[in-house]
Symmetry: C2
Subunit: 424 residues, 2 copies
């Protein structure tokens, strides 16, 4: 298609009229499509139903290390689970904690504890500083930003490139300002841009020399085994931090939410042994034990890394056609049009459309008025403020393939209309 | 037996010599008995194994209100669970939240949020006060005190009587000091004394006129259906608070930890609709959803209140002989001896021995040196400081009946020796 920015006034008006006609036709279909949430579809959930057969009333509920999972105890999780999820994280049993159903909630827990009590190496609780700041690569995961906003932690936008966060900026802020206490990272198939941090970026992160000695990288590796097109390997940040003499600088998170059943899985955490011991002493005060039966259910179902990869390949087979539909429609309808750009992600749960400045809200409204619901514009940025009003997160996992195709057609028409409006 | 306090010096010496001989005989048995933790026994856990058959790969995982429990959503818990556990709490669905595996962790969560953000009606976060204080009926549950200590909340001892906390003192502190922000209560078969709050006590609590308008009663009804000898009914504190014009003053907690599998059950929470809405808005920032599959498993297994009572009657049948052993041995060996007193609890998980001043640590050591481990003395009080050194918590649920009997024989000899030592 012709690049919209090359059209003269008359051509623009003609193109817009054609697009508005198409848009009107879509409106007349009374669509009700939802592309807002990174939720697995029913087909994906069905894959995990055998998980429910793993434990029954005849089962031996003792883990491989002798723990009766039916009773209290093992605050850091059963060893069998710490071993398996440690393998996913690239950590030893002693460096791994397996928690409840949500790694997100554990991220909050650790951030709240840092505010209330401080972390290993803190001089005082973070809440005792006049100001606490966190570096936030954008576009990023809205929930991370919500935690900071909730706790009154000031967020600083860091542009995300295809190699990861702009490290010049990260180094500048971290090394110069003691109130900068950490950074949020989704290093693989990032939510929502879909990029993977390069080796160089990860090494630079590990080699940070923060002014705050209790600086923490919150490393939310939510999509570690969630390849769709390409299984990209990223460096183990904890290993790199150890090499750099910063073993305690990183907290790693992951969960089975998108391997088995979201909200009914287990979350896990990896960090240096010293960090784990420090956190154990804090956790002792606030929790008795996490759900070990669900840990046992998961280790017996997931078995080992190879089996997990097999399960994730089946998940990917369900997701791929939907991602194809998003990416192909974007290519066909918007490729070379000058109406926005996007990264083809290797995996994960999202595609991010980066429109011309000042178009995201308008596209969102146009879509909404045609029965296609997208994630709120701004949700990719701290304080829900996308300064360029250009980012839109597309979440194709939950709707049916036909719905994704239809939603994307509407989206591309809306994107072109909004783009033309900025050119008029 | 003769009251030790009536013996003359010679008689005391003779009795002590006999007791020391018995004690030495016990030591020679090389016992290894543990009465420290309120954990269910293997027989109790076995009762709950059918829980594991409730959901399998053929199950419809949609709750009675249409929620697919396998996916994200329903932050306050599935309605079917909110209904059932609301019935246990005496709250409506809108007044009930069902959370993760631990009500204890949720108590911490709410206390931490009060510190960080405040509660409904707070002028500012509790952590912004120079001092925050909590009233702590003693003897009480060590874990409650740990939360306060962890968060730097100053604890004030309130003596617990057979009717509940000393209400004159509670009223005095609450009404006169704005920094007193709440009180811990275990109103039924209290941990560890085993008393139930009288109607009068509950009405007085509900009618408090605290100086702090964001005062909260943390009502940990951990043993609401855990009768062993006598199913005692206590008043619904939320109803009483409403009548008194204090609808937002109480947070009620409970869990299935001692109905099904501890650490693998669900916790629940009841409060006014306003409190629930306020807390929902805070929870939104820190959690996506709790484990709805385990909620569904529990509601389908527990079914209704009558069925829960049936299950709890079977639990009681396993616990009763052990409580009989504790209480009968205390009666036989120490009754009328002047060596301590105890309440016969109607239910719950503990018996508390209240010895003569200055004997608890000594008894604990004597028992330990004879291979019988008791809960640390002091754990019944804030900061692990029992000012009289007289309280010892006996937890007979986990060991076998024979072990409980043997442990109690050792205990009674130790208690008499320690008592005589104070009389010498």
């Amino acid at each position: 298609m012709e690049n919209l920015t090359n059209l003269n006034k008359e051509e623009l008006a003609k193109t817009k009229a054609e697009l508005l006609k198409k848009y009107k036709d879509y409106q007349n279909l009374n669509l009700n499509l939802n592309m807002t949430r990174g939720k697995p579809s029913k087909e994906q959930l069905a894959l995990s139903m055998p998980l429910l057969d793993v434990l029954n009333s005849s089962s031996d509920c003792t883990d491989a290390y002798g723990t009766d999972c039916r009773n209290y105890g093992e605050l850091l999780g059963i060893k069998e689970a710490r071993k398996l999820f440690g393998e996913l994280l690239g950590t030893s049993i002693e460096e791994t904690i397996v928690v409840g159903q949500s790694s997100f909630n554990f991220m909050y827990e650790l951030m709240a504890m840092a505010m209330l009590k401080g972390t290993l190496g803190s001089d005082k609780p973070w809440s005792k500083y006049d100001k606490v700041k966190f570096l936030c690569p954008v576009p990023g995961y809205d929930r991370h930003f919500t935690i900071c906003e909730f706790l009154g932690i000031e967020m600083i936008n860091i542009p995300l490139t295809e190699d990861g966060p702009d490290m010049d900026l990260v180094e500048k802020y971290a090394s110069s300002d003691e109130s900068v206490k950490g950074i949020w990272c989704v290093p693989k198939y990032s939510n929502p841009l879909g990029v993977c941090y390069s080796d160089k970026t990860i090494k630079r992160l590990a080699n940070l020399k923060p002014a705050a000695k209790d600086f923490r990288i919150f490393w939310d590796n939510a999509y570690s085994v969630h390849a769709i097109y390409k299984d990209i390997q990223i460096l183990n940040i904890l290993d790199e931090c150890k090499k750099a003499g910063n073993p305690n600088m990183v907290y790693m998170f992951g969960s089975t939410s998108k391997m088995t059943l979201p909200g009914a899985g287990v979350g896990y955490f990896g960090a240096s042994k010293e960090n784990v011991e420090y956190i154990e002493n804090q956790l002792k005060c606030v929790c008795i034990s996490y759900d070990k039966m669900n840990m046992l259910r998961h280790v017996r179902y997931l078995k080992d890394i190879d089996n997990i990869k097999g399960i994730m390949a089946k998940q990917a087979d369900i997701l791929r056609p939907k991602f194809d539909a998003v990416l192909n429609t974007l290519d066909e309808e918007l490729g070379n049009s000058g109406a926005g750009s996007w990264v083809k992600p290797g995996g994960g749960y999202f595609v991010t459309y980066v429109g011309k400045k000042g178009t995201a809200k308008r596209i969102h409204t146009l879509c909404k008025d045609a029965g296609v619901l997208l994630t709120e514009p701004g949700s990719t940025h701290p304080y829900h403020k996308d300064p360029d009003d250009s980012y839109l997160r597309l979440a194709p996992s939950f709707p049916s393939l036909d719905d994704v195709k239809m939603a994307m057609k509407v989206f591309c028409v809306a994107a072109q209309i909004a783009t033309i409006e900025t050119l008029e």
